[in-house]
Structure formats: C-alpha cells, structure tokens
Amino acid sequence: MYDALTRFLGTFSADNPILWTVLVIVVIGGTGLGLYAFWEVVLKAVSAVFSRGGNGPGDSPR
C-alpha cells in the first residue's frame, strides 16, 4: 500500500505537472477544510458533554 502510494506520487508528479499542481492544492485545501470541520464537531461535542455534566437535577430550570 505504502509502496504503491509512494510510486504513484513519484511518477504522477513527474509526468503530469499541471494535474499534480491541481491535485496538491485540492488535497491540501480539502484536508484543511475537513480538519477544521472535524475539530469544530469534536470541540462542540466535548463542550456539550462538559456542560451536560455540570447541570445536575437541581440546576435544571423550573
């Protein structure tokens, strides 16, 4: 798997410079957006868990 990936990256970048450039920008940009979305979801989930933990039965509005 790793060997196939490195072989693909090595040959594709050398043979198709324009497609390689597009691929690099799309992959990097997409990964950045994906990682931001991932961390937003994780942080929201964590804060939801903590805020729920802080609200005991006595804290709930009447």
């Binding site: 090595g10 390689w20 690099v24 992959v27 950045g32 931001y36």
Partner: protein, 352 residues
C-alpha cells in the same frame, strides 16, 4: 519513512511534533508557521527547495484552518487583506523567478539560510526590545506606551495622487477607511507596497509571510494585535496558493510530508487560536519574538555546522534549540489558556 517527492527519509514522529508546534504557534500568532516549517525541514535534512515548496503547501492548509477559527472570533479585516494582496501576487512571481535562478547557480541553500537568520534575528530582537521598552515605561509612568507612532505619521501623510478617474467611472479616492482595523484614512498604495515587499520576501524564503506581515501590521499600519493576527492569515492563504502552485509545477512539494504535518498542525491550531482571547497583546508579542529568535539561532548553527571542520554536531544542537524553544512556547500557550479558563481571567488591556 521515505518521502518520494523530497527523495529523503525523515522520521514521521519528528514531522508530527513539528506540525503540532507549528499549528499551536500559527493559531496563536496568526502566522502560517513558514519560518518554523522551512527551518525545521532544513534541520531534518530535506533539500532546501523542497523544504520551501512543502512549507508553502503546509502554510496553505494550516492557514485555512486558522483563518476559519479567527473569522469565527471576528479578527479578520477583509478590506486591508485585499489591498495587501494586490501587491503580493506580482511579488511572488518575481521571487519565484529569482529562486529558480539561485537554484540553477547552486546558491539557494546558503542564500535562504542566511536571509532567514538575518530576518528572524532582527524581528525576534525587535519584539523582545519592544516588550522590554513597554514594560519599563508602564512601570515608570503607570500608563501604557503607544507602539503606533509610525502608523500615526503614515495616516497623516497626504501622498499624491489623492484620487484617480477610472474610464467610464466617477473619480475614486485613493484613501481607504478600515473600520475593522480602526484606521480612519490610509493611502491604498501603503498596504499595496507593504504587500509587495512582504510577498517578495516570503516567496523567496518559502514562507507565508505572516512572521513579516504581523509586525508590519502592528507597528507600521498600527492595527490591533488580534486583528493583525486574523488578517495576516488571509494574506498568507493567497501566498500559500500561489506559492504551492509554483513549487508544485516544478515538483518541489512533498504531498505526503505536508499532509502528515497538516493533520498534526490542525490539533495545535485549535489551542493557539483560542488562547489569543485570553492572553494580552504584549504577551503575544514577546512570545513571538522569542520563537522567531530561536528559529534564527537554529538556522545559523545549521549553516555553521554544514561548513564541516568537525562542527557537524551543531546541526543536532540546532534541532534541539528549534524544537525545544518552540515546543516550550507551545506548552506555555496551553498553560496560559488553561490558567485563564480555570481562573476565569479576561484578556489584559490592549496596548495601542
């Protein structure tokens, strides 16, 4: 682990460590982290031009993550970023052409190395001096000291032409108002020229330009530190896109290396960007100064170590200094954030 585009083997744990540190510092200081990435990759033995190209790709990705975070915090001045970008694009093309000439002449490694040392040392010492000066002044007079003297003179400078007539359009003023940055009037040629100068230097060094743009925005344009942090990221993304495209075309970007570091950097950037809300501006500036100064010292040691004469161990010392200091600053940022969260402390007063 072997990286096919860089044609070099690098320990992936070192890349992850560098990525986390870059992400934390990038989120906190509003820089893409290029000065640290290229410096780190050079220290890890990656060829100079691939270090520059891969650094550009990582800058692009990590700046997208950091910008989205800062946009959420209201720290981005789109108008100012747009003006600086007008100067950045032609400067990047010029810098890339010069880089190719230096590579052909076989002098790109030393040129990038020594230019980095000079710039990082100057900026680091300047920020530390500024911290020392403002702290002493505040202690003596009990008042905060203004760091925007140059900016005030720039605002007052009525540089011709004051307006231009566009064909088929009415006369347009060349003075811009930047409400987010709290600038009432500035000639558009000033941010465009600054964008050109920063773009040229960053294109030459393979950095996003944040470590140059941030002090320029604070001390020359005179905008609040937190807005400078967010706005410089937008400019860095443009530098990142153009730079990544140019270096990818000549096959000088290692995608695998960039993805590994980007994934690690995204975790750190969450921490860094959140911390800017809880640490006062002066604290952000002095930490920035210490970090860039350590980068300069590390590259200087690396350059001396490459000269041979039994000084090869200096490369290891450079790695320890670079990762040690920036790692410590990243840990300190985490501690400051944790302390303020636990203590419910608010950010200190802004030094204007």
């Amino acid at each position: 682990m072997f990286f096919p585009n860089a044609e070099v083997a690098v320990n992936p744990f070192l890349l992850v460590l560098l990525g986390v540190i870059v992400g934390t510092l990038g989120g906190f200081f509003g820089v893409g982290g290029g000065f640290l990435i290229t410096a780190g990759l050079l220290v890890f033995g990656v060829p100079a031009i691939v270090a520059v190209g891969t650094g550009m790709a990582l800058i692009l990705g990590s700046s997208i993550v950091n910008l989205l975070k800062h946009r959420h915090l209201g720290n981005v001045d789109y108008r100012l970023a747009g003006l600086t970008m007008l100067g950045t694009v032609p400067a990047l093309l010029l810098a890339k052409a010069l880089n190719s000439k230096l590579e052909a002449a076989g002098t790109i490694g030393p040129v990038i190395g020594y230019l980095y040392v000079a710039l990082l040392a100057f900026l680091g010492l300047f920020f530390i001096y500024d911290y020392w000066r403002t702290r002493n002044w505040s202690r003596r007079s009990g008042e905060s000291v203004s760091t925007a003297g140059l900016a005030q003179r720039l605002y007052a400078w009525r540089m011709p032409p004051h307006s231009i007539r566009l064909p088929g359009w009415r006369r347009v003023s060349l003075y811009a108002v930047l409400p987010v940055s709290q600038v009432e009037s500035i000639h558009v040629l000033i941010p465009i020229t600054i964008g050109f100068a920063v773009g040229f230097l960053s294109g030459l060094l393979g950095a996003g330009g944040g470590f140059i743009m941030l002090p320029v925005m604070i001390f020359i344009i005179g905008i609040p530190t937190t807005v400078a942090v967010g706005t410089s990221l937008l400019q860095i993304i443009l530098t990142g896109v153009v730079g990544t495209a140019l270096y990818s075309l000549s096959n000088h970007v290692d995608l695998l290396m960039a993805i590994i570091m980007l994934s690690a950097a995204s975790a750190g950037s969450q921490l860094g960007a959140s911390a800017t809300r809880h640490v006062e501006s002066r604290g952000i500036r002095v930490l920035f100064g210490v970090t860039v100064l350590s980068g300069g010292v590390a590259i200087a040691l690396k350059q001396v170590g490459q000269g041979g004469r039994g000084l090869e161990y200096l490369s290891t010392v450079a790695t320890v200094i670079l990762l040690g200091v920036s790692g410590l600053v990243a840990v300190l940022i985490g501690v400051l954030l944790l302390r303020s969260k636990l203590g419910g402390a608010k950010r200190g007063p802004e030094i204007s």
